[in-house]
């Protein structure tokens, strides 16, 4: 059946309205500004914290790259603030009953920025290219899974065939990595497409000076924006320039000295001052997916024992860590999912409170007794916890390690913190860690399978090495469950299980934070927190 009735993934389980930024400036907020008449023209300079690796959606794995090419490429569908799937380049779609084929009707008025017409061939080209191992498109390939092949029905109709049914497939099509690329441009630039990206988005690529800036300009023909965008037509800005400014002080300084109009990733300690300054606004949006989570490695003794893990759960005062380090600008995470995700279990909030006595008691029960130096021992072995974290100190994660080190010392656990550039070898190859933290930006709770299923795919896999048949079963069921209520219930079971078994220590939900001059109006964010520049204008 090919009508649009079977449209989106429906009911919203999340409680976060991620679509709009929560502006917290003393000055008129972005939403209010959006109500004013937008000004045409001008240039927005936007300081990024890191450099994109490539602007080829198929190949990039970095969020920062997505923030840039989000404006260059469009997707077939879009997710709104209520986790519902809405049309974008596809006007309507249908799913076969076995869940194995998706048929999309495409917009007919769309052109790539290089003039190439957008059609079913382009869609097929984009997806097949991702499957081609020569593209080295591992990130988008995993988002595209279980896509097997596609069939062009006519110029504007395409059928996508899956190898197995997946409830996540449609949602995943909203991911930036599955943006539709111009086949002619790919042919033309080959390997270098990432430095010469061409899509159908509201901005077209102009130039990229590595480590300095990336310049985009208005795509004047654009009028196919999704309904989630405040401006479906051509962008107001003439030019959009991303500056790459890795050093925090410099980045914030460049906004304060008005060298740029906006800067991303504002460190918590600077937020208060910027908020207090009437020349600036601070915009924050929660990123969806998995929060920053510390995984406890169950392959290692004594962390294979529940009581030991629970001791960590009680011994670590996450609330204090989040409050101290992020000064109230980040939310504490309570579950394996972020609050905006479909299926988020809000009941877990405040369900675990730090309790040193309980932690001590649990460790006592396991036979770990406090030694002369305050560290617990058993059979002549000290109770140590090998805490691995990556470098650089992104989002103050290293500082979390330092605080946990001090907190656990109080219950007699010696934490050896190892900060390494080479997480891949340490964690994923050698399995040499007791605790390792990670987070993931994602659009569908199916992401949980990648972390908690016994046979989690990929090298990253099941970091905690949790293995439970009941858990596996819930995850498998949820991946294909058509009934959203039931699906949400399954995911809640999963979250509950994770909490009860102290599989992880969820730490914080990362808010994407932007500081901008008050002249910048209409800056909004999509459902995963990527900025949408189409509606932005500069007030004179």
């Amino acid at each position: 059946g090919g009508n649009g009735g079977n449209k989106s993934s429906g009911a919203s389980g999340g409680n976060g309205a991620a679509g709009e930024a929560q502006s917290s400036s003393a000055a008129p907020s972005a939403e209010q500004a959006a109500a004013e008449t937008p000004v045409q023209g001008g240039e927005l300079t936007y300081a990024l914290a890191t450099s994109p690796d490539t602007l080829d959606p198929a190949r990039s794995g970095l969020a920062v790259a997505s923030r840039v090419y989000r404006s260059i490429f469009d997707n077939l569908v879009v997710k709104d603030a209520n986790n519902e799937i809405k049309p974008w380049l596809a006007t309507e779609w249908s799913v076969s009953d076995d869940g194995l084929t998706y048929t999309f009707k495409l917009r007919q008025d769309v052109k790539f920025q290089d003039g190439t017409p957008f059609n079913a061939e382009a869609v097929k080209f984009t997806f097949d290219r991702i499957l081609d191992p020569n593209t080295k498109a591992s990130n988008s390939a995993s988002a595209l899974k279980p896509y097997a092949s596609s069939e062009v029905i006519d110029d504007y109709t395409i059928k996508l065939v899956l190898s197995t049914p997946s409830r996540a497939f449609l949602v995943n099509l909203t991911q930036t990595t599955l943006g539709i690329v111009s086949p002619t441009a790919v042919e033309k630039y080959g390997d270098q497409f990432g430095k010469n990206p061409v899509g159908t988005g509201p901005f077209k690529f102009v130039g990229w000076q590595e480590n300095a800036d990336i310049t985009l300009e208005r795509n004047p023909d654009y009028n196919w924006g999704p309904e989630t965008a405040s401006n479906q037509g051509a962008a107001y800005l003439d030019k959009l320039v991303f500056k790459i400014v890795p050093e925090e002080a410099t980045r914030i300084g460049s906004v304060q000295s008005k060298q740029v109009l906006a800067a991303e990733t504002v460190p918590p300690q600077n937020i208060a001052a910027l908020k207090a300054d009437s020349n600036f606004q601070v915009l924050q949006v929660e990123t969806g997916g998995l929060p920053y989570t510390l995984f406890i490695n169950q392959n290692k003794e004594p962390w294979n024992e529940l009581k030991a893990r629970q001791a960590l759960q009680y011994g670590v005062d996450i609330g204090s860590i989040v409050k101290t380090l992020y000064l109230g600008t980040y939310e504490q995470a309570w579950s394996a999912l972020t609050p905006s995700m479909f299926g988020y279990d809000a009941s877990l909030e405040n369900s675990v409170q730090p309790d040193a006595d309980k932690a001590n008691q649990l460790l006592d029960e396991l036979g770990w007794t406090v030694g002369s130096d305050g560290i617990r021992e058993k059979d002549g072995k000290k109770l140590t916890l090998h805490y691995v974290d990556g470098s650089p100190n992104r989002e103050k994660r290293n500082d979390i390690a330092v605080m946990i080190q001090q907190q656990l010392k109080k219950i007699g656990i010696q934490v050896d913190v190892e900060i390494t550039k080479d997480v891949a070898t340490k964690v994923f190859q050698n399995d040499d860690y007791d605790i390792y933290g990670n987070s993931q930006v994602n659009v569908d709770p199916n992401a949980l399978s990648q972390f908690y299923h016994t046979a989690a795919p990929g090298v990253l896999g099941n970091i905690a090495h949790v293995s439970d048949s009941q858990l596996d079963q819930w995850l498998e069921q949820a991946a294909v469950e058509k009934d959203d209520t039931k699906r949400a219930e399954l995911y809640k079971n999963v979250q509950q299980f994770i909490k009860d078994n102290a599989v992880i220590l969820p730490i914080y939900v990362f808010p994407y934070t932007v500081a901008a001059s008050n002249k910048v109006k209409g800056l909004a964010f999509d459902s995963v927190g990527y900025p949408q520049f189409g509606g932005v204008y500069i007030q004179k």
């Binding site: 000076q209 400014v245 410099t250 300084g253 460049s254 090298v459």
Partner: protein, 308 residues
Amino acid sequence: MVRTIIGRVLSSLLVIAGSSVLVFVIMYLLPGDPVDSLIDPASATPEQIATLRHQLGVDQPLYAQLADYFGKLLRGDFGKSLLNSEPVLPKIIEHFPATLALAAASALLSVIVGVLLGVLSAIHRNRPIDVIARIVGLLGISMPTFWSGILLLLVFSIHLGWLPAMGSDGWKTLVLPAATLGLIGGGFIVRMVRNSMLEVVNEHFIVTLRSKGLSERAIMYRHALRNALIPSVTMIGMLVGEMLAGAVVIETVFSRQGIGRIVADAIMAKDLPVVQGVIVFSAIVYVLVNLLVDISYSYIDPRVRRAA
């Protein structure tokens, strides 16, 4: 002279080849894998990784990779970045001017300030000027650059708003980074010039000059300084190395384009061809500059010219 230069060039080639082998070996020994940054560990399978490693050639033994690399290098092919398949040479050529501008500006700054302060300091030995010059010089070499850089940035661009905080377009963006980097060079040069001035002033020929009735000014600036500069010139050659190294930090602090940042990133990502390329390139620059220094040496110091 020409003969010496040819000899120098030949031995320089050897040195450059040596440094690239050395870097190659170090990088080869680095743990981790360029593939890690290419692939999402969450989804990649070991087979995928193996394929990718094979495609990139990083599964080859060291000698094979080395041979391959040098084979290409001889043909002028610096290879492609493992991360984004970008050819390395154009990348370096794109980024080098910014680093060159930074290095040149800070070298200039440090030479001007350094020589000036060094001479004043020597002439007014143990007077307030000397004390100030020496303290400035010492501070220059005693402060971590990233710290002094950020301090300068806070003062001059955030508080006073005089200069841009970042970027690499236009001379204005050059001022703060060059000042930060020049502070070190200046510090070294002040000390060097001061010491050699004090040494030269004790030379016999200074007495001759006085006995000829020359003014102190002529003696100091026309004769003593020129003699004192000779050892300092070598120093300037060495400074280029320091400047290139300093660029790694400075370019990050001030968000400048440049090969310093490229190479730092590439080292972290184990992007061997890029690291190699930059090292070979900067070795060439270093060798060239020192060759120039040697040649200019023979113009300043006739004794060297004769020996050559």
